[in-house]
Subunit: 101 residues, 2 copies
Amino acid sequence: MRVRTPSELGALIRDYRMRHNLDQKSLAASVGVSRQWIVEIEQGKAGAPLGLVLRTLGALGIVLDAQQETPPSPKVKNKSHGVDAYVDINTIVAGARKKRK
Amino acid sequence: MRVRTPSELGALIRDYRMRHNLDQKSLAASVGVSRQWIVEIEQGKAGAPLGLVLRTLGALGIVLDAQQETPPSPKVKNKSHGVDAYVDINTIVAGARKKRK
DNA sequence: TTACAATGTCGTCGAACGCTGACATTTTAG
DNA sequence: CTAAAATGTCAGCGTTCGACGACATTGTAA
């Protein structure tokens, strides 16, 4: 499942929690948060700390994979001029210089 | 790339930001946060709010996909007794009853 | 029915957060 | 080399968060 918003992640967590036949109290205990926090996460709380979110996913056996979003269908292919959306000549030039440690 | 910890996500964001040849100030502006916040996110801040994190990923063209973690290689197959890690008899019984709206 | 479990909501409080502004350090441009 | 840009860090301040306890609602079990 693709995760773009806090609400989507909340639905994901709730779905997986129920698949494992866990109640909010048990999940909260294994994650190390309050039950109220589980309620709010499942409702899509945007302010939830990243660390707790990842621990919750881990407790449910969920892993996240990051990918490059598919480009918005390039209408024009490479020509002698024009700027590619993901590769810039300046990037090449800059990359030729000493890299930051 | 697999994302399991705030530090991994920070490295991911930094990597993508540099691929797009953006400085912290520009990224911060497009996400709608302060430059200091970008600094902290790239350093793996665990307390960063989920909503801002997702907006940052969106600004960089990164999408997240959630998957079920591969089971830890089941040593024993289904027998007449014993508990499967992902399917519990109680789940079946409970599921046979009326579902919560 | 009654009793219990699970869920959702509401205060309160201490802790952590993000922002602004400034400054030091590091890296790049000239 | 020097100057500018980019990055990392700090202190102060107002806001927001998570934990806790209590309570209402809903669904299940007896």
